[in-house]
């Protein structure tokens, strides 16, 4: 194995190292760099001194490095000296001062450093650093910075790993540790690498030691089957505990939670809505994303304001070494990015993506539009039928786009960054109606406009005060807006004047979130790290819902400020136990209350392979997304603020226990969770008097409920090798209790009993083949118990459907197989091209989305509304380096 082989090469003197390679067609610089990397030696030379141009090939195999260097430097006007593992090369005549290169030996010392991407210089957050043959290790922080205490010797070996990158062994040397260390990892790509000695392997998905934490590599995600190209949220739906059978929502249903209970942080600001195109795609461009980490439950005190889970997305900084450019196209969208180094210490990144009208876009768009319930409202005045011809013209136009930009500037101890995000969906399904009779015309129109999007920006300052104290200050702004106009224009003539009346509904929801936070990490000792901080948010949420121009069903203008402090202590005890107690206290000015959220999680290493984990915690949610049942357009939702009155503050308690068994190549993990949910809200006009009444208080139709979510997740993963993948199984149950629906609790609409996922990836040369199969128990739905017709007093007949208990029936089981093949190829010496073929729903399974019921000729007819059938896609992408 290459690993052991490399290790044996650690010799006291670099000159004695036996070189095992030949170099042909390379420059001297390339050869020296490769020798340094391959044998972990430090070669110190001045770039200017090294002659350019390809050297004649020579066979070095079996020769000691000393000889190799002599051969390489012969007649180049250079000389060299070797001290231990260090080689110094200078121009002939320039003295080599050995004293400079002799470093003091150290034992039991601390070391700080940064983990970076070798190609782009991008810092890598949450990378793992472990001292070989010890349990001593740490994880880099969000800026890629780490400090390790109590390193036994200055020749210890670090194992540095990060999802999507090759694991690197770093052989410490007295010189290396003389200042902060920069460890550069090589991103995994599918091309055969020229240098592959210290590399171990890459992972697509990584389960963290911490309870319920998992991350996925945005680089490796590309090889997974997808509908319209690489998708962040869809990839996470392949994990146990995250529901995968919600084809119409890219939001995450984590352990019985709903997408709004999942906190989505992008470079520190909260993103309130993550869907593109009715939820078929997530609103983040993978080109802009460096790291994604999901906390499925029991999350730490640092995070708050949500009941279920946290997804922390770290945006890319951009290449700080070289200018880089890339572009991609699929059947759904085009995208591009540019990375520009700013001086020597900064970088700028810009990415953009936009959909276009393709068969795939149209398929998805149509499947959602056909399903929209009947037209908004029939015109109030029907002056007989069959009077003339009416023509309806509809030209739906719709698209989505998203943009990311980020500028980062890094000083020795400070990092400044400014991140910006904007994404929007525009759906227009409006039509105009022309009624003609006897040559006369009357115009009207139907509006069906939906627009939603996010704006977010954050400014961050990180400072490393010293080896053990690190601070982050962040100011952010996030805005979410959603507008819906489902109206019909009627022109009414009255007293000789033309007056336009809109019938139908208009909805406008706007949320603004201004946040300031300071997070601090204080590494008191290797076994004790204290994290504490302040967070302060100001929310401004408006929601307007009107009907027929005149009736304001909801017109809310809510403001609130939320101030929070938190402490958490990461303690390592008895060398086996990690204990993280924490507390979060928030003052919410709407209710004038202080909310305490105590939490604790622990990790116990039973032995080297088996770990026991447990977590308990309390969680509050103040800004809530409320589902509004809408008969005209399916369920709609809006964000508003809890007030402790008609809209309660959400509250959850998590109990989680689990264990994992991990070997070098395999991981088996099991976790069980139980969540108690209180203060759930729903808004429904289904029980409201529907015709205008002057004395109706539309605030009366907020309903409160409670719930319980419980389940078990099992995971078996093959982590490394040509074949990788996992099997995930989730057994779950979510029960809600809303008194408005009756005394009995009922299954939540997103409840799935069994969910099984197989994710497979096979690497074959430059190809990666992958397949994923998803199976989920059918979702609950409410079915009719019967139907009846009523002959109205005017002689017309209206049909009605009588309804049974809520959600007692189940849709047919959901399953689907997706496959993909990705080929990565080099263009020129540096550029990389990538072509991907993907088939969604390979065996064309007819999965039911929901059912509709209609009473036709005294017969109750049931119709299935289905999800997408077999859908192919091709993606092409290119990047300069």
């Amino acid at each position: 194995m290459s690993v052991i082989f490399a290790q044996q090469l650690v010799a006291q003197n670099a000159g004695e190292i036996s070189v095992t390679k030949n170099y042909f067609g390379k420059t001297l610089k390339n050869t020296l760099d490769d020798l340094a990397l391959s044998y972990n030696i430090d070669i110190d030379y001045d770039k200017e001194d090294i002659p350019k141009g390809i050297m004649p090939g020579k066979s070095f195999k079996g020769k000691p490095l000393n000889t190799v260097l002599q051969l390489l430097l012969k007649d180049k006007g250079l000389h060299y000296k070797i001290v231990e593992m260090q080689v110094v090369i200078r121009k002939t005549g320039k003295k080599i001062l050995l004293e400079e290169k002799i470093y003091k030996r150290k034992n039991n010392f601390s070391l700080s450093g940064t983990i970076k991407d070798k190609k782009s210089g991008e810092s890598l957050p949450f990378a793992q650093i472990l001292i070989k043959n010890t349990k001593n290790g740490t994880v880099s922080n969000v800026d890629g910075y780490f400090t390790l205490f109590k390193i036994p010797t200055d020749t210890s070996v670090f194992l540095v790993s990060y999802t999507g990158y090759k694991t690197k062994r770093v052989f410490l040397s007295p010189k290396l540790i003389s200042k902060d260390i920069v460890i550069e990892l090589i991103p995994e790509n599918n091309m055969i690498d020229e240098v592959n000695i210290t590399a171990e392997s890459e992972e697509l998905m990584k389960v963290y030691k911490d309870i319920s934490v998992v991350s996925m590599s945005t680089k490796q995600m590309k090889t997974l089957p997808s509908l319209g190209g690489q998708d962040l949220f869809r990839s996470f739906q392949l994990l146990p505990g995250v529901s995968a059978s919600n084809e119409s929502s890219s939001g995450l249903y984590v352990r019985g939670g709903t997408p709004d209970q999942n906190l989505v942080l992008y470079d520190g600001f909260t993103v309130y809505h993550v869907d593109h195109l009715f939820g078929m795609f997530s609103a983040f461009n993978p080109n802009a994303v460096k790291d994604v980490k999901l906390y499925k439950g029991g999350f730490e005190s640092k995070y708050g304001g949500r009941l279920s889970s946290v997804m922390e997305i770290t945006g890319k900084d951009g290449n700080e070494k070289n200018f880089n450019l890339g572009a991609g196209v699929s059947f759904l969208s085009i995208d591009g990015f540019a990375e520009i180094p700013l001086g020597k210490k900064g970088s700028f990144l810009f990415t953009g993506r936009r959909s276009f009208q393709s068969f795939l876009y149209k398929d998805i768009f149509d499947s959602f539009n056909d399903s929209d319930a009947a037209s908004p409202e029939a015109p109030a005045q029907i002056m007989g039928k069959g009077m003339g011809r009416s023509m309806v013209q509809s030209e739906p136009s719709s698209f989505f786009y998203d943009l990311n930009a980020k500028a980062t500037y890094k000083f020795d101890k400070d990092i400044f960054s400014l991140s910006f995000y904007n994404g929007q969906d525009d759906l227009d399904n409006s039509s105009t109606t022309n009624i003609s009779r006897g040559g006369m015309r009357m115009g009207g129109g139907r509006n069906d406009l939906t627009q939603w999007g996010n704006w977010g920006t954050s400014a961050k300052w990180s400072r490393r005060w010293n080896k053990s104290f690190y601070s982050n200050a962040l100011a952010s702004y996030s805005k979410y807006y959603s507008k819906r106009n489902m109206t019909r224009n009627n022109t009414v003539y009255r007293n000789g004047e033309t007056k336009e009346i809109n019938r139908g509904t208009i909805e406008d929801n706007q949320l603004q979130d201004y946040t300031f936070k300071i997070d601090n990490e204080w590494k008191i000792t290797q076994n004790n790290q204290l994290e504490f901080g302040l967070q302060s948010s100001y929310y401004n949420i408006d929601y307007l819902f009107t009907r027929n121009d005149t009736i304001e069903i909801q017109n809310r203008h809510d403001q609130a400020s939320l101030s929070t402090i938190y402490f958490q202590d990461n303690l390592r005890l008895f060398n086996r136990l990690t204990l993280i107690p924490g507390i979060r206290a928030s003052f919410y000015d709407v209710t004038n209350n202080i909310y305490f959220e105590p939490r604790v999680s622990l990790n116990y290493d039973l032995n080297k392979k088996i770990q026991l984990k447990a977590s308990w915690g309390q969680y509050y949610q103040f800004a809530k997304r409320i589902i509004r049942d809408d008969m005209e357009s399916g369920s709609r939702d809006f964000w508003t603020l809890g007030n402790g009155d008609d809209i309660p503050i959400g509250f959850a308690t998590h109990y989680i226990g689990g264990l994992s068994y991990e070997t070098h190549n395999y991981l088996f993990s099991a976790e069980a969770y139980y969540k108690n949910l209180q203060g759930l809200s729903e808004y429904s006009l289904l029980y409201a008097p529907t015709f205008q009444q002057q004395n109706v208080n539309y605030d009366d139709f907020f309903y409160e409920g409670t719930g319980v979510a419980k389940g078990i997740e099992l995971l078996a993963q093959k982590k490394y090798g040509k074949y990788t993948g996992w099997v995930g199984y989730t057994l779950g149950e979510v029960k809600y209790d809303f008194p408005i629906y009756g005394n009995e609790s009922f299954m939540a609409t997103h409840d799935v009993t069994h969910e099984l996922k197989f994710v497979n990836s096979y690497k074959w040369g430059k190809w990666v083949f992958s397949a994923s199969w998803i199976y989920g128990t059918g979702k609950p739905y409410t079915a009719p118990t019967g139907a009846y017709d009523i002959t109205m007093a005017d002689g017309s007949v209206n049909s009605f459907i009588a309804v049974g208990d809520k959600n007692t029936f189940r849709l047919p089981d959901y399953h689907r197989l997706d496959i993909a093949a990705t080929y990565e190829f080099g263009i020129g010496s540096k550029s990389i091209g990538n072509i991907g073929f993907s088939i969604f729903n390979l065996y064309n399974r007819t999965n039911t989305w929901y059912k509709t019921f209609e009473l036709v000729d005294s017969e109750l007819i049931e119709t299935d509304v289905n999800l997408l059938g077999i859908t192919p896609n091709i993606t092409l992408s290119f990047k300069l380096r």
């Binding site: 319930a373 009947a374 029939a378 109030a380 005045q381 029907i382 002056m383 007989g384 039928k385 009077m387 006897g438 040559g439 006369m440 009414v492 003539y493 009255r494 049942d629 008969m631 399916g634 068994y661 088996f668 289904l686 529907t690 015709f691 205008q692 009444q693 002057q694 419980k710 389940g711 078990i712 057994l731 009993t753 069994h754 409410t782 079915a783 009719p784 118990t785 019967g786 009846y788 017709d789 009523i790 002959t791 109205m792 007093a793 005017d794 002689g795 209206n798 009605f800 009588a802 309804v803 007692t808 029936f809 929901y850 059912k851 509709t852 009473l855 005294s858 109750l860 049931e862 509304v865």
Partner: protein, 260 residues
Amino acid sequence: MKNTAIITVMIFGFLSAITSCEQNNIDIDTTTPVVEAYLIPGKPVEQVKLTKLIPYLSDNGNYVAEGISDAEITITNNNENYKLLPVPDKSGENQTYNIDFEYNNKTISASTITPQKPTNFTMSQNIIYIDRLVEGERPNMENAIYEITWDNDDGSNYYISIDLLETEIDPVSFMVTDTVTQTLSTPSVTDVYNINSRLLRYYGNHRVVLYKVNEEYANLYENTSTSSQSLTDPYTNIENGKGIFTAFNTDTLFFEVKEY
């Protein structure tokens, strides 16, 4: 791998404990009656219709709503029982009427209040002149609006029914070939109804009836969901049953459409 074996046993033990009960029985509702009864002052209660629900059985063919014939129905007002006969000279405003009967050991009941008679029911013009449109001629592009108004201070729901009273049909245009002699509006909170001259189809006498309706009736016109994602019980004012028991009040006026 001993540990994994233990884990597996533990987990599947827990699995079977959690999944033990799950039901998917189809509830066929055979006991809920559907009521349909309207009270209009001065008019006889023509019928109180009682039927059973059409059951939800997706594989069943045509199913006709089964009538209920063995129920004894009474309508009461001021503790007086009424048989289903016309009651002349009875004040028709603000009277509470109750209906009840026993069915399948349950008392099915409902209550309604007769609304007040509409006031100030007037039309801007009682005679409307319209050009006859003959094939080949240029149509008159003019369009006149005739307003029908009434008082609506309390935000009540009204609907209008316009009926052609002629037995001989005389269309205003050669393009009108069908015979649709009734025009209806749906209940809404309004105090005006506009008749557009372009939409008048026949010459002759027309009757306009304004119905003041109760909310329980107006509710039946609201779109109801047909999707399993948001299915809820439709509105009804019948206790232990479905359907409608409601009262109206009306006013009537007439107009005539004449040729120029």
